[in-house]
C-alpha cells in the first residue's frame, strides 16, 4: 500500500494529466452542446501537452539558454517543449476547423445540441 502511494505521489503529475484527459473525454462523450464537446476535445489535448511538459521538467532546472563562461546549471529538456509547440499549432487548427464547422451546422440546421441535430438530420 505504502509503495503504491509512494509511486503515486512521486508521479502525481502524470496522474493529474490522466485525470484531466478523462475530464476531456467525459465532456466529449456526455455533453450535448457541440461547442462544449469541442471544449472537451481541447481539454483532452491540453492534458497531453501537460504530460509532455511535466516529464520534460528537471528539478531545479532552468531554461536552456547559454550561460556566460564559467557558470553551470541544469537545463530542463527543451525538446518536448518544441514538440508541444507544434502540437499546440495542430490543436489550434483543429479547434478552428471544428468551430467553423459548428457555425455552418448552426446556419444550416439552426441547432447546436447533438440530440436536436440528429433529429434534424434524420428529418431531411
Amino acid at each position: 500500500m505504502e509503495a503504491v502511494l509512494e509511486a503515486f505521489l512521486s508521479h502525481y503529475n502524470y496522474g493529474m494529466a490522466i485525470i484531466l484527459m478523462m475530464i476531456g473525454l467525459y465532456a466529449l462523450i456526455a455533453k450535448q452542446n457541440l461547442v462544449k464537446k469541442l471544449i472537451g476535445l481541447n481539454i483532452f489535448q491540453t492534458a497531453i501537452f501537460l504530460f509532455y511538459i511535466s516529464f520534460a521538467d528537471v528539478e531545479g532546472g532552468i531554461a536552456p539558454i547559454y550561460l556566460p563562461e564559467g557558470m553551470e546549471a541544469i537545463y530542463v529538456n527543451p525538446l518536448p517543449h518544441v514538440l508541444i509547440l507544434t502540437a499546440i499549432v495542430v490543436g489550434v487548427s483543429v479547434t478552428a476547423v471544428g468551430l467553423s464547422l459548428i457555425v455552418r451546422i448552426y446556419e444550416e440546421y439552426g441547432v447546436i445540441d447533438e440530440a436536436g441535430l440528429l433529429k434534424m438530420v434524420k428529418r431531411r
Partner: protein, 500 residues
C-alpha cells in the same frame, strides 16, 4: 537532383499549393493544370525513388544536414518505396478525375481552396510515407487529417458538415492517442527517430511505459484506419464527401494510415515485441476476422451505393490488418499486395459511384435500375473492379487473398482461413446487388411506357472515364503480372519481419 528528391516531394507541392492559391484568385482555371502538373511531378519522383531503392538500397535524407538522432530524416526503403508510388498513382488518377466532379459538387467560390487543400492532403500523406521520425509522422498525420476534414465539409450537402465534425472529433482523439504514445516512447528511450527507437527499445521491453505506448499507438492508428469497432466515422464521411474526395480518402488516406500502423508496429516495436513480449496477434486476428464479416454484412444491408462501398472498406481493411495478425512472410506479402489491390479497386468503385452521382444526382439503389443501358463502360468498370473485390482468379484481389489464405494456413489458423473465404462470399453479396440493379432490372423510366431516357443520363465525361477505366484494367493487369510485383513486395516484407 535525385539525392534531394525526398525533400522536393514534400516542399515543391507546398509551394505549388501557394501558387495555386495565388493564381486561383486571378483565374480559377489555373488551379486544375497546376495541381495535375504537381502531382505528376510527385508521381514521377515516387517511381524514380522506387527504382533507386531497388537498385541502391535504402535512401536517407537528413533535413538541414543534421544527422539523426538529432535531426529529422526522411527514409525511403523497400516498404515505403513500394507504398509511395501507390499513393501517388491514386492521387494522380483522382486529380484527373476531380475536375468535372468538382465543378458539379462544389460551390464555384470554393474550387480554388479545394485544389489547395487537395494538394496539401496529398503532400501530408507523402510526408507521412517517407518520414523516418515518429513525431514528424504525427505532424504529417495531422496536416493530412485537417485537410481531409475541410475537404469533406466542402460538399454542397449540409450533412457533410455533420460527417466532417464527427470525423474531426474521432480523428483528433486518434491523433491525441498517437501523440501520447509517442510521448511514452520518448520517456522510455529519449529519442524520436524510428531506427534509433528500434535500436533502444529492446532494453526496456519490460516497462509498463512501453506497453502503454504500444497500446495507445495501435488504438490511435486503428481509429485512423477504421478497424471494425472504431469505424464509426467512416460511413458518413465517405458517403457525404464530394466524390473526388471520397476516392482520395478511401484509397490513399486509408492506405497511408495502414502503412503508418505497419511501420510503427514492425519498424519501431519489431516483430519480436508484439509476437513474443506482448502476444496480441491472436486478438488482432480475432478483431480483423470480425471486421471482415461485420463490414461485409453491413455493406449488404445498405440501400445506397456509396454507403455500401464505405462499409465494404471496413471489411477490406480487415483483410490488411489480418496480415498483421498472422505476421508471417506469406500473409504479409498478401497484406501488402492487398494494400495495392484494394487501393486500385476501391478507387475504381468509388469513381463509378461518383460518375453515377454526376449523371443521376443520386446513388441510392432504387434510382439506379437499368443504369447499365445508358452507362455501359462505367458499369463494365464496376463489374471488373467488383470481380477483383470478390477475388475472381486473374485479378489482383485474387492474388492478395490467395497469399493471405496461404499464410493463415501456414500459421495453422484454419478457422481464420475459412473466415477469409466467407468474407469473399459475402463480397459477392454486395457487389452482386449493384450488378443486378444495373444490368438485370428494367429501367424505371421504361416501365411507364415512354422510352426516352432521363435527361442528362449518358456515359460519363472522358476525363472521369479514363482514370476509372485505367484503374479497372489495372486490377486485371496487376493480377496477371503479379510475379514482377512480388520482386518488390517480398524484400519489403523481409525488411518488416527482420526489424528495422
Amino acid at each position: 537532383m535525385i539525392e534531394h528528391l525526398p525533400v522536393l516531394l514534400v516542399t515543391v507541392p507546398i509551394v505549388a499549393a501557394l501558387l495555386i492559391l495565388l493564381l486561383g484568385w486571378h483565374d480559377s482555371r489555373f488551379c486544375y493544370p497546376l495541381t495535375l502538373a504537381t502531382i505528376l511531378f510527385q508521381f514521377a519522383g515516387g517511381i524514380a525513388l522506387l527504382i533507386e531503392v531497388m537498385r541502391e538500397g535504402t535512401i536517407h535524407y537528413y533535413l538541414g544536414g543534421w544527422a539523426p538522432p538529432l535531426g529529422i530524416e526522411f527514409v525511403i526503403d523497400t516498404f515505403n518505396g513500394y507504398i509511395l508510388p501507390i499513393v501517388l498513382l491514386l492521387a494522380l488518377a483522382t486529380a484527373v478525375y476531380a475536375r468535372r466532379s468538382v465543378e458539379k459538387e462544389i460551390k464555384p467560390e470554393k474550387i480554388v481552396s479545394f485544389y489547395v487543400l487537395f494538394q496539401l492532403l496529398v503532400t501530408g500523406l507523402v510526408g507521412m510515407t517517407i518520414t523516418g521520425d515518429i513525431f514528424n509522422l504525427y505532424v504529417f498525420l495531422e496536416i493530412s487529417s485537417i485537410a481531409a476534414y475541410t475537404l469533406i465539409a466542402s460538399s454542397r450537402k449540409p450533412r457533410a458538415y455533420v460527417a466532417a465534425l464527427n470525423y474531426l472529433v474521432l480523428g483528433s482523439i486518434a491523433g491525441g492517442f498517437v501523440l501520447l504514445g509517442i510521448g511514452n516512447l520518448y520517456v522510455a528511450t529519449g529519442t524520436l527517430n524510428m531506427a534509433d527507437l528500434a535500436r533502444l527499445l529492446p532494453a526496456s521491453y519490460g516497462l509498463a511505459t512501453v506497453h502503454t505506448a504500444f497500446l495507445l499507438l495501435v488504438i490511435g492508428f486503428s481509429i485512423k484506419v477504421a478497424l471494425f469497432p472504431l469505424h464509426l466515422w467512416l460511413p458518413d464521411a465517405y458517403t457525404e464527401a464530394p466524390s473526388a474526395v471520397t476516392v482520395l480518402i478511401s484509397t490513399v488516406m486509408a492506405k497511408v494510415s495502414v502503412y503508418a500502423m505497419f511501420r510503427v508496429i514492425f519498424s519501431v516495436f519489431t516483430t519480436a515485441y508484439f509476437v513474443e513480449t506482448v502476444p496480441v496477434t491472436e486478438l488482432i486476428l480475432f478483431i480483423a476476422a470480425v471486421a471482415i464479416v461485420a463490414g461485409a454484412v453491413l455493406a449488404i444491408a445498405q440501400e445506397d451505393l456509396k454507403r455500401m462501398l464505405a462499409y465494404s472498406s471496413v471489411s477490406q481493411v480487415g483483410y490488411i490488418v489480418f496480415a498483421l495478425g498472422v505476421a508471417n512472410q506469406i500473409a504479409l506479402e498478401g497484406g501488402l499486395l492487398h494494400i495495392l489491390g484494394h487501393a486500385v479497386m476501391k478507387g475504381c468503385l468509388f469513381m463509378v459511384a461518383g460518375v453515377i452521382i454526376y449523371r443521376l444526382g443520386t446513388s441510392s439503389f432504387s434510382d439506379l435500375k437499368g443504369v447499365a443501358a445508358t452507362m455501359p463502360v462505367t458499369c463494365a468498370a464496376f463489374a471488373l473492379a467488383g470481380a477483383s473485390m470478390i477475388g475472381v482468379p486473374p485479378t489482383i484481389g485474387f492474388a492478395s487473398k490467395y497469399y493471405l489464405v496461404l499464410g493463415a494456413l501456414e500459421a495453422g489458423h484454419w478457422v481464420y482461413a475459412a473466415v477469409l473465404l466467407a468474407g469473399s462470399l459475402l463480397a459477392v453479396g454486395y457487389i452482386w446487388r449493384f450488378i443486378e440493379v444495373a444490368y438485370f432490372s428494367a429501367s424505371s423510366h421504361h416501365e411507364g411506357g415512354d422510352h426516352h431516357p432521363a435527361p442528362g443520363v449518358r456515359e460519363a465525361p472522358l476525363s472521369m472515364l479514363v482514370p476509372m477505366v485505367i484503374l479497372s484494367i489495372l486490377c486485371l493487369v496487376l493480377g496477371i503480372f503479379v510475379d514482377p510485383l512480388m520482386k518488390i513486395v517480398a524484400p519489403a516484407v523481409s525488411l518488416l519481419l527482420g526489424g528495422a
